[in-house]
């Protein structure tokens, strides 16, 4: 019955190596296919014999990929900024005061993640059309300008903030907004960074709402660009993989640099 610690450690390594391979191999396969010349795309060799940038040249030719990437950066940055600001303000209201209706507001915010987007998509679409938001970047940002998880994570972070410091600021005559900006926010850099990372990645990967809203490829964001591309160039695998690699590059770079923070922010705020 007793297995030696060494055997068990070995087994653990094996399991983890298997899982790591499973996780990373598809991404690797995407990247390596993108460097293959057309003649080599169907080869099962693990890397290209004669790597080339040809596929990337063609992507740039057939699709306004840089414009699309720029749209996506704008959209994700604006969404992140909006979600962090609205999140900070709302969290501050819930932490700083106890007031009638406060609990109701808190649950309205917390329960909003229970409403599936598909249930409200038609009224949202009608409203966006009426407001002239169709086919615009603003239309992608505005409905996502507040996120329940941003409010809740920042709320939890602020609750841990020492009361005495806030009180001292009030004694010094600082208003609630000044206290928030000058005392609370500078001390919450880590949770704010963590929420921002999460907001940015989920905005970057957002699929459904842009799918409804965007009509023209030059107005699109990268996820929808890829979708268009897939239906047009369906089986041009080298081309598709090059486009997919370009679309993933910013996120993978962020991950490479901020790996620990990224993992931690995901683990703190759950799956969505």
């Amino acid at each position: 019955m007793t297995t030696s610690p060494n055997t068990r450690r070995f087994a653990a390594h094996l399991v983890m190596i298997g899982l790591s391979a499973l996780a990373i191999f598809p991404v690797y396969w995407m990247v390596q296919t993108s460097f293959r010349p057309e003649s080599e795309v169907f080869s099962t060799a693990l890397w290209p014999a004669t790597p080339t940038l040809e596929n990337y040249r063609r992507v740039i030719e057939v699709m306004p990929i840089f414009g699309i990437l720029w749209n996506t950066v704008l959209m994700a940055a604006a969404t992140t900024a909006a979600q962090v600001v609205t999140g900070l303000l709302a969290a501050w209201a819930l932490v700083r005061w106890r007031f009638p209706g406060g609990r109701l507001a808190h649950s309205l915010i917390a329960l909003s993640w229970l409403v599936p987007f598909q249930v409200v998509m038609i009224p949202n679409y009608v409203l966006a059309t009426r407001l002239g938001l169709l086919d615009t970047i603003a239309g992608l940002v505005v409905p996502n300008a507040a996120a329940a998880f941003a409010v809740l994570v920042l709320y939890n972070a602020m609750r841990g903030f020492p009361r005495e410091v806030v009180e001292a600021a009030r004694m010094d005559g600082a208003g609630s907004l000044r206290t928030l900006i000058e005392v609370v926010i500078p001390n919450l850099r880590a949770p704010i960074a963590s929420v921002s990372i999460l907001c940015f990645i989920s905005a970057w990967n957002e699929y459904f709402w842009p799918l409804l809203l965007i009509r023209k490829i030059e107005n699109s964001v990268v996820q929808i660009g890829l979708q268009f591309f897939m239906s047009q160039e369906g089986n041009d695998w080298g081309l598709l993989m090059a486009a997919a690699t370009l679309a993933s590059l910013p996120i993978l770079l962020i991950y490479l640099v901020l790996q620990r923070q990224v993992v931690e922010s995901f683990m703190k705020s759950g799956i969505r």
Binding site: V27, T44, V85, M121, P123, V151, F208, S248
Partner: protein, 312 residues
């Protein structure tokens, strides 16, 4: 509780009344932006969807919605499409649970003793699918599982097996989509379990070992019960959102086919809404889904409170 609201602790009948009402108003100023967005884009639309579900409307700006009472609901409930979609939704959820909860739990328990740089490397790698965009995952798996030239089928062929129509065979396609959805989650769930496992107080395990418990007994009687909050949380997430996570892959890879075998309720709503332009059917289906998942959420939360073992 020592810091009650300034608004209520102020004396009321003084000439400073206007200022007091202003102060009572203050928290709402901070809440306004977030609440406005959620009310305008989530709660009001929810009510509008409820209203629309009693109308027939093709979503064209000039056409008038026509009141039809409960017809949309009755039609939906009798529709074979809907029944199939409900069954498929259950299959997605059930199929996803081993990938989002079962395998990660086992892996986390098996690899808990790993330390040092190797462990960090593994953690860094297994998390990657979580941040890959769903549509990128769809494209990559579509390539790997391609019937003629995909790596998976080329390997199968070279070992003398028949190729599999991963996305074209009605018996297989749904499980392919479950796999892609789960692929994104395995690493993340494993890390959550590992974090929860390493938070278990080592003195419990030490004490059990002193009493002669085998490592299986320790897993069964100490570690799994103390991991139950995480198990329940991930199960809840999977049950509530699993079918939604699959939406991207259905839309990008199968369009609900072949033979509607991969259509789930969320895809059905999308089809009714934006392919056949029947807003009433789509919103009625949405209301039913919202109701059912709302009830499921309540039941799950109650179960969580009852079943979870907390170390306190």
């Amino acid at each position: 509780m020592s810091h009650t609201a300034i608004a209520t602790s102020m004396p009321i009948a003084t000439p400073r009344l206007p200022r007091i009402t202003l102060r009572a108003f203050e928290p709402w100023l901070y809440l306004a932006p977030a609440l406005a967005v959620l009310i305008v884009w989530t709660y009001v639309p929810l009510l509008e969807a409820f209203e629309l579900s009693f109308y027939q409307w093709n979503m064209l700006p000039r056409s008038q919605p026509r009141y039809v009472g409960f017809d949309n609901y009755l039609n939906l409930l009798n529709l074979p499409d809907m029944q199939q979609a409900v069954i498929n939704t259950v299959l997605y959820t059930v199929g996803l649970l081993p990938l989002s909860v079962g395998v990660p739990l086992v892996v986390a328990l098996l690899t808990a003793q790993l330390t040092g740089p190797a462990r960090n490397l593994y953690r860094g790698l297994i998390f990657v699918p979580m941040i890959v965009a769903p549509i990128v995952a769809a494209i990559v798996w579509r390539w790997l599982l391609n019937e003629d030239h995909g790596l998976a089928n080329q390997w199968l062929r070279s070992f003398g097996f028949d190729t599999i129509g991963f996305l074209r065979d009605p018996d297989v396609a749904l499980w392919t989509l479950v796999w892609i959805t789960g692929w994104k989650l395995i690493g993340f769930s494993t890390l959550l379990f590992a974090a929860a496992d390493s938070a278990i107080n080592p003195s419990y395990i030490e004490a059990a070992r002193m009493d002669g418990a085998t490592s299986w007994q320790i897993v069964r009687d100490i570690r799994v019960p103390l991991l139950s909050p995480t198990i329940l949380l991930l199960s809840l997430m999977t049950v509530l959102f699993g079918a939604q996570w699959s939406f991207v892959y259905i839309n990008a890879l199968t369009g609900g086919g072949p033979l509607r075998s991969t259509t789930n309720v969320y895809y059905l709503m999308w089809e009714y809404g934006f392919k056949t332009m029947s807003a009433g059917w789509s919103t009625a289906a949405g209301m039913l889904v919202f109701l059912v998942f709302g009830l499921v959420a309540l039941v799950c939360l109650a179960l969580m409170k009852k079943l979870a073992v907390y170390d306190d």
